[in-house]
Amino acid sequence: GAGVSQSPSNKVTEKGKDVELRCDPISGHTALYWYRQSLGQGLEFLIYFQGNSAPDKSGLPSDRFSAERTGGSVSTLTIQRTQQEDSAVYLCASSSPRDTITYEQYFGPGTRLTVT
């Protein structure tokens, strides 16, 4: 079946502009995660959704970052007034409620955001 998809694949924006990044999880996956991967760094957790609720937003770096999920499916990560330090690859992952033994998260290909 189809994997996790993300759009756009690459995004170049000017400092101060708002951007929206989209994630389509695997069908039936109730859990959805956003991570950020800065150059030369590991993945940094941003936010976790269970259904449409976000029980853990602890990783969002500032109030310029927000995310929502609708219909228990698609999620959008919005960054307002982008700064150069927001440049990174943003990865989305999803997992199935049946994977409570393996806890495997399936990742999308990411969106590379460049703020100029």
């Binding site: 590991g42 993945l43 990865l91 992952a93 806890y103 998260q105 290909p109 590379r112």
Partner: protein
């Protein structure tokens, strides 16, 4: 708070040889999960192998195996018979009931012909 440390930023290995990537972690929890993910240049994160902390037996997946030392909080990945397609970034990750993976900073592995 849990932390994951990968002390080898880069490693290289000859094709068909064996290489071991190191990972240590810190936690006060007893039941948790550990993962190795591979990230090729395509950016797609691919699960390589997982280990449940309550299992004493080391996990194996074909050419990939782990050496899990719970007391030492060590979780190394051994790749046998290395192939050119194994060239990638490898990330060690920790998971405990917080519904988020905690990643190390990664090891870049280059396999040479």
């Amino acid at each position: 708070a849990q932390t994951v440390t990968q002390s080898q930023p880069e490693m290289s290995v000859q094709e068909a040889e064996t290489v071991t990537l190191s990972c240590t972690y810190d936690t006060s929890e007893n039941n948790y999960y550990l993962f190795w993910y591979k990230q090729p240049p395509s950016r797609q994160m691919i699960l390589v192998i997982r280990q449940e902390a309550y299992k004493q037996q080391n996990a194996t997946e074909n050419r990939f195996s782990v050496n899990f030392q719970k007391a030492a909080k060590s979780f190394s990945l051994k790749i046998s018979d290395s192939q050119l397609g194994d060239t990638a970034m490898y990330f060690c990750a920790f998971f405990y009931n917080t519904d988020k993976l905690i990643f190390g900073t990664g090891t870049r592995l280059q396999v040479f012909p």
